[in-house]
């Protein structure tokens, strides 16, 4: 344990896990963080380019590989740059120091007399003939990082802080084979899984002849217990057979979710593990109590491509290709279900579409691996069907959030309770969750014990439940609901969106109760200077008018959060109008993310978070009706091009502060700002998401 090293480097201290000089002029960077469409590999290359003093063009980034790269767990929680980037930066600084020392020995001078220009070593302004590649033979990169090497001063960074174009984008606009779905391996067989409807369901009968008739090509059945797959050389035939099989495979013991279970309020009064944090219970001592309840339904990740996985079992080795967020945790989970030694499994990350959390990626990889074990020597490609992805991906849980505030004479909160009902936000394989295919195998693993993301890691349902406002007493009551109707796990921001929605809508309700302007009210209860700065900035950007009349059908709302109370700060203003439906017009956002590696990349992430959150808030809820009834883009509509607002984003310049994660920071503030703007437009408050036409009508009738 070396406390001076950044966490991921401490976990993977050998420098060859991070940096290699494979051939003259070439640098390879290895990272455990994977590309999910967020541009992380470009940012990592920028970090390495600066710290090693080599041009970006020389750098190849390899990511998510259990054979070579560092084990950094999951690419999740807006932590890649905040932790993984800092680790890579330190690793590169250590490598640079080793090379400078060696160059000093070779050249007979002090290391400090040598400078590096694009990988070439200079002294007294002249080339020394030495470079990383001439010296690399003499340096043992398997040596361990010591923490002694100094990283460059922020002022000396050139690539970091510049909007470097994304390295992965050209292949995507030219239609190259960049996605896992495009992989072709020699002798590859296509496969589709006929999914077990739920963990206790068993196959009663399979009408193989009926299925083969529809296939119009040769297909084969692979079965292990209640795990059933259809495989064949011709993807078209396999696809047709799988679509037909849904009606020709009969299951026993199917328990399907019903409509009443789709509402968040169903979670109240369910079996739960109760947890409490923060201040001791308080008496209001005659002061005013203010209590409101907010809810959000189940959401789907709804990745644009269904999940895909490839696997090949040959000569006692299992190779798996996946677009999941954590190759090492997947390897450990596969070893368990397949009863293999982890050292005989190699997991490779290949890009898929955006996942925004724990979607079907791990499960599709497990499907491929299970089939591959029964077909040694043949590469297996599993691609889920659209409805399979919608029905079987882990959902993000419905949540009920009750806020209770005790107010002083000035109407400011002096005591804050946020009480939460939610199923888990973490059924990832690395957290003990089961891979779907394993549940259908003989002797399936037991149900995982109740668990949510620990508060030390930002919490799951409790994420952002604690207000950053200056409130003397704050507490969180968490009811971890243990038997949800569907499998639930991580989606972008976990509990932060419902918690910030509840908290920031309630702050607006408190402002309104005292006749205060929402911006001024927030500033009157928060002293954190970086929080104040983003609130003030966004109000200026939007030309916030404290006297704008409400109830006109057009409204504005503001909201603020610091993601996890430890990542980036962000404030959002939304302008919209409401008739039967809500129409978003403009969104302004001010964000403080500390040192920004790639400003355009950060803005792209913030915009994406705003638009995705708007889609969740306006349109999205997974519905149940004798099963998951949201199974395609018509039954689970998302925001369209013609519905997207104009967005203006400004980054607060705090380059001398450490970098802070941004991928998930705008989702909560956007949701709450929309809620607050709708209330301003209508003169009536809606506290349940999504903000459907029915709820708008009901709110107006109630007023």
């Amino acid at each position: 344990m070396n406390a001076s090293l950044p966490g991921p480097l401490n976990d993977n201290p050998n420098l060859d896990r991070w940096v290699a000089f494979p051939s003259p002029g070439q640098v390879t960077i290895l990272t455990g963080r994977v590309e999910l469409g967020q541009g992380v590999l470009t940012a990592m290359a920028q970090i390495a380019a600066d710290e090693l003093d080599v041009a970006m063009e020389r750098i190849t980034v390899r990511s998510g590989d259990t054979e070579q790269g560092p084990n950094e767990g999951y690419t999740a929680g807006s932590q890649s740059i905040q932790f993984g980037g800092v680790a890579l930066r330190q690793a590169c600084a250590e490598v640079r120091a080793l090379f400078l020392d060696q160059a000093g020995k070779v050249l007979g001078c002090k290391a400090s007399e040598i400078s590096i220009r694009d990988g070439r070593f200079h002294r007294n302004g002249a080339s020394t003939g030495q470079d990383y590649w001439t010296l690399s033979g003499a340096i043992d990169l398997t040596s361990r990082a010591t923490g002694a090497a100094a990283r460059k001063a922020i002022a000396d960074l050139k690539s970091v802080g510049a909007s470097s174009p994304r390295l992965d984008l050209p292949g995507k606009v030219f239609g190259d084979s960049v996605f896992i779905h495009d992989m072709e391996l020699d002798g590859m067989i296509h496969a589709r899984v006929i999914r077990q409807p739920d963990r206790d369901a068993t196959i009663a009968s399979i009408d193989e002849r009926a299925i083969c008739r529809v296939a119009k090509g040769p297909v084969e059945f692979v079965r292990n217990g209640d795990f059933l797959a259809i495989v064949g050389d011709d993807e078209t035939a396999v696809d047709a057979a799988a679509a037909a099989a849904v009606g020709h495979v009969i299951w026993h013991n199917v328990e399907a979710p019903i409509p009443t279970q789709q509402e968040a309020s169903w979670l109240l009064q369910r079996p739960a593990v109760d947890r409490a944090f923060g201040a001791a219970p308080a008496d209001s001592q005659g002061r005013e109590r203010f209590e409101r309840s907010y809810t959000r339904g189940y959401l789907a990740h709804a990745s644009i491509s269904p999940s895909c996985g490839l696997a090949l079992y040959q000569d006692g080795k299992l190779n798996v290709w996946t677009h999941c967020q954590g190759v090492y945790p997947l390897r450990a989970a596969l070893a368990k279900i397949l009863k293999l030694d982890p050292s005989s499994i190699i997991v490779h990350h290949v890009q898929g579409s955006g996942c925004y959390g724990h979607n079907g990626a791990d499960d599709a990889a497990a499907d491929a691996a299970i089939i591959a074990m029964q077909k040694p020597g043949r590469p297996i490609r599993v691609r889920w069907r659209r409805e399979e992805e919608f029905i079987y991906e882990p959902k993000t849980p419905a949540m009920v959030v009750k806020v209770r505030a005790i107010l002083d004479e000035a109407g400011k909160p002096v005591d804050w309770t946020q009480e939460i009902w939610s199923p888990t936000h973490n059924l990832r394989p690395g957290a003990g969750g089961n891979l779907l295919g394993a549940l259908a195998l003989p002797n399936p693993p037991p149900e995982p014990p109740p668990n949510d993301v620990p508060e030390a890691n930002g919490g799951g349902a409790t994420r952002n439940a604690e207000p950053l406002y200056d409130i003397p007493a704050k507490r969180i009551l968490h009811h971890l609901v243990t038997e949800p109707p569907v499998r639930t796990s991580a989606l972008r921001g976990l509990g932060a969106m419902p918690n910030v929605f509840a908290l920031e809508c309630c702050i607006d309700e408190l402002a309104d109760r005292g006749g205060k302007d929402p911006v001024q009210y927030r500033l009157s209860i928060i002293t954190d200077p970086r929080a104040r700065a983003v609130i003030e900035k966004v109000a200026a950007m939007a030309k916030w008018n404290p006297d704008a009349a409400g109830g006109t059908g057009r409204g504005r709302g503001i909201a603020f959060a610091r993601y996890k109370n430890r990542a980036a700060y962000s404030a959002v203003v939304v302008e919209l109008s409401v008739d039967e439906d809500i129409r978003l017009h403009r969104v302004w956002c001010a964000t403080d993310a500390g040192l920004v590696v790639n400003p355009d990349g950060v803005i792209n992430q913030l915009e994406g978070g705003i638009i995705q959150s708007a889609s969740w808030v306006l349109k999205e809820q997974v519905r149940f009706d004798n099963g998951v009834a949201s199974y395609d883009w018509q039954t689970y509509p998302v925001i369209k091009f013609s519905e997207v607002p104009e967005i203006e984003i400004e980054l607060i310049n705090t380059q001398d502060e450490p970098p802070l994660g941004v991928g998930e920071v705008t989702a909560g503030p956007t949701a709450a700002a929309i809620g607050n703007a709708v209330s301003h437009a209508l003169g009536a408050r809606i506290r349940d998401l999504p903000l459907t036409r029915e709820r708008i009508t009901a709110a107006l009738l109630k007023e």
């Binding site: 984008l169 030219f174 239609g175 090509g217 491509s305 269904p306 104009e646």
Partner: protein, 161 residues
């Protein structure tokens, strides 16, 4: 007994031999012809990942039977341009960094090409409407709209030269 199906893809005549005349054009492009740029998203003609031009009109091809395109001209994203000679749309998508995961982009580029071929000077609302048949889940919409506007300007300037 396999049948032959003849049509053109990106200006080249192709002939494929298939047992199943109902095979979707998307499968034929990806698996028989090795053109992986056209992506599978839903197989239901809902998301637009598989958008191609068929005789100049934008069409989703994930359920389009191969027999129905015999004798027709298909254009896929690979037919727009490549790194050496990018189409103005591809260039402006790169200039605007219009995309995140990029899975939807091939279909969006094809829809945008169909729009600009028909309407060289579309308003932002017209572009948005033309792209409503394509889903972007990452939230790159505004960058994509800007990129199409910019490509329209580039293409008009090119046409005047």
């Amino acid at each position: 007994m396999p049948k032959r199906f003849e049509f053109s893809v990106n200006g080249k005549a192709v002939s494929v031999s298939l047992d199943n005349e109902e095979s979707p054009l998307l499968d034929v492009l990806r698996n028989s012809l090795g053109l992986k740029g056209t992506r599978f998203g839903c197989g239901l003609e809902q998301c637009g990942c598989c958008m191609v031009l068929i005789d100049g009109a934008p069409e989703k091809c994930c359920t389009k039977p191969v027999w129905s395109v015999v004798g027709k001209e298909i254009v896929t994203v690979e037919g727009l341009g490549d790194a050496a000679r990018p189409h103005p749309l591809q260039q402006s998508f790169l200039d605007e960094q219009a995309g995140q995961c990029g899975y939807c982009l091939a279909g969006i580029l094809v829809s945008a090409k169909a729009l600009l071929d028909k309407n060289p000077k579309p308003s932002r609302a017209e572009i948005a409407q033309a792209l409503d048949g394509n889903i972007c889940r990452c939230g790159s919409h505004n960058r994509i709209l800007r990129a199409v506007e910019k490509a329209a300007v580039l293409m008009r300037a090119g046409a005047e030269r």
